[in-house]
C-alpha cells in the first residue's frame, strides 16, 4: 500500500482538508479532481445563495444526472401513477430528466428527502465561480455509484406516492453526470435549501 499527498493536477499545489472528501478542490486554481484508477479533472457547478438565505451556510454536493427515461407499463394498487410521466420533458411516455443524487454520506431519510425533492423541484440557480469561503460538504459517493443509484431515485419517487406500487416497466439511461454544489443553511431541523 502506498500513501501519497494529494496535489492539484493543474498547479501542483498540495491540497489541505480536515474532512475526507472524494472530490479534491484546489483553493489556488479552483480546479476539482477525482481519483479513480487515475487522476481526472472534473467540471462542477457552484450555485449562488439566495440573498434571503441567512444563517450557517454550507454547500452540499449532488450528482446531477442527465437521463433519458421511458415508462413502458405500470401498475399501482390503490393509487395513481403519474409523477414521473408528469415531470419528464418529451413525449407522454418518455423524455429527458435531471436526476439529483446527494453525494454526501447521509442517512436514508435525508437521502430520500433531498434526491426526491431536488429531482421533483428541478432547482433553478445562477452560477458562481468559487465557494466564497463557505464551507463545502464532503463528497462520499462516486460518480459511478450515483449513476447506479439513479434507478433507485426514480422508483422511490413513484413508490412514495399514495398507493402501493406493484409493477413498473421502464428504461433509464444516464448520459452525463456533473457534480453540483447547491447552497444550504443549517437550521434546527437540519439542512434547509438556500436557493
Amino acid at each position: 500500500m502506498r500513501v501519497v499527498q494529494v496535489k492539484c493536477p493543474r498547479c501542483q499545489q498540495p491540497i489541505y482538508s480536515k474532512v475526507k472528501d472524494l472530490a479534491f478542490y484546489c483553493q489556488h486554481c479552483r480546479t476539482m479532481h477525482i481519483r479513480n484508477g487515475g487522476t481526472n479533472i472534473i467540471d462542477f457547478d457552484i450555485a449562488e445563495f439566495s440573498p434571503n438565505a441567512r444563517g450557517d451556510r454550507v454547500y452540499m454536493p449532488f450528482w446531477r444526472l442527465f437521463s433519458s427515461f421511458t415508462i413502458n407499463q405500470a401498475n399501482v394498487a390503490g393509487g395513481t401513477f403519474h409523477k414521473l410521466s408528469r415531470m419528464i420533458k418529451g413525449t407522454a411516455n418518455g423524455g429527458n430528466l435531471f436526476i439529483y443524487v446527494p453525494a454526501w454520506e447521509t442517512a436514508v431519510d435525508e437521502f430520500k428527502r433531498w434526491s426526491m425533492g431536488m429531482t421533483e423541484g428541478q432547482p433553478m440557480y445562477s452560477l458562481r465561480q468559487d465557494f466564497n469561503n463557505v464551507e463545502r460538504g464532503p463528497t462520499a459517493i462516486t460518480k459511478e455509484e450515483a449513476m447506479q443509484l439513479a434507478d433507485f431515485v426514480v422508483v422511490t419517487m413513484e413508490a412514495e406516492r399514495p398507493g402501493t406500487l406493484q409493477y413498473l416497466d421502464y428504461s433509464l439511461q444516464v448520459h452525463d453526470a456533473r457534480l453540483v454544489y447547491l447552497p444550504f443553511v443549517r437550521g434546527a431541523q437540519g439542512l434547509v435549501s438556500g436557493l
Binding site: V3, K18, A77, A107, A159, T164, L165, Q166, L168
Partner: protein, 333 residues
Amino acid sequence: MAISVGLNCPACGGAIQVAEGDNVLNCGYCGSLLWAEGDAGVMTVAYRNVQGRDSVLRATEQWWRKGWKARDLREKGKLLECYPIYLPFWSTTTRVAGWICGYEERRHTDREGNVRTERIPMEEMVLNDYRYTSIACDPGDLGIRYLRNVGGEASFADFESIPTFESTTSKDEMIATSKQRALEEARGDANVPHITFERVIAIPKGISRIYYPVWVVRYSYGERMYMATVDGVTGNVLSGRAPGDPLYQSLAVTAGTSIGGLIAAGGLAFGLGAGEGLLALIGLVVGGAVLALTYRFFRHGSEIVEGDFEGKAADMRGKLMKEARRTFRGFHT
C-alpha cells in the same frame, strides 16, 4: 474503525490513522489530504500480533476445560507445536438499494368454514450496507473461514518474522459473491412473499485484503492428534478439535434413550388408550427425535469440534450475515 497502519505522512512524517477500506486520509498533524493506493485497487492491512506463546497456551488450556471435552485433557494433553501464522481474508462492503414490490396473501375462515384469501399489496424499500469477510486461501484443517474481529492495531512490523499464507482466491470472485449474498439478504429483509416487481442494485463500496495473525496449537491426547487456533489479536480460541469424554457420552446415551423411550411409550399408551391416534403419533415422533439426538451425540461425542469446519460453514454464514445486518444500517457505517 480507525487503525494505525504503521505509515507516515509523506508531507510531514506524522503517523497516519486510517479506517479499513478508506482511500482518503487526513494527516492529523499538517492537515494534508492523502490518498492511499492499494495493489490493483485493493487496500492491504495487516493486524499486529499482540499475543505471545504463554497467553496462547493459557487460552487453549481454558478452552480445554469448557464444554463436553475430556475431563482429564489438562493432565493428559501434550503440547506438540505452538506457532503464529498470518491468514489472508477478503473484507467487502456492498451497498444495496432498491425496491421490492408484491403482495402477501392472508386466509380468513368464517364461521361456516368458507375460506377467503385476501391479497395485501406490499412495497418495501431496501437501502443497506452489508459487510462480509471470507478467508482468501485454503484454510486446510484450521476451521477458520470468516474474520470475526475487526478491531486492533494494524502494522506490517511482524510480516517478516511470521509465516504468511498467500491469497489464492480472486478479489473479483469475492466481490461477485458479496453482491450475490447482499442481494439475497436484501430480499430476505424486504420479506415480500409474492414479488411482482423488483429493482434492486448491489454496489461494491470497497474491498480490502486483511492479513490476520492466528496461533496454531497442536497437541496430542492418548494416541490421537488434535489442534486449536487462537486469535492473535483478541487471544480468543477461534476453532479447534478436542477429545470428548466417554462418561458424558454414556450418561447422554442412558438419559437420552430413557427419556426418548418414555415419551414414545407414554404417547402410545396414553394416545391409544384415549382413542387419540394423533397424540400417539406425536409421542412417537418426539420420542424418536430425542433418540436421534442421543445417537448423534453418541456418534460424534468422541470428538468435540468448534469453528468453521466443513459441514458447519452454512451455519456460520448465516451467523455472519446477521452480524453484518446489525452492524451496518442505512448509509452510516
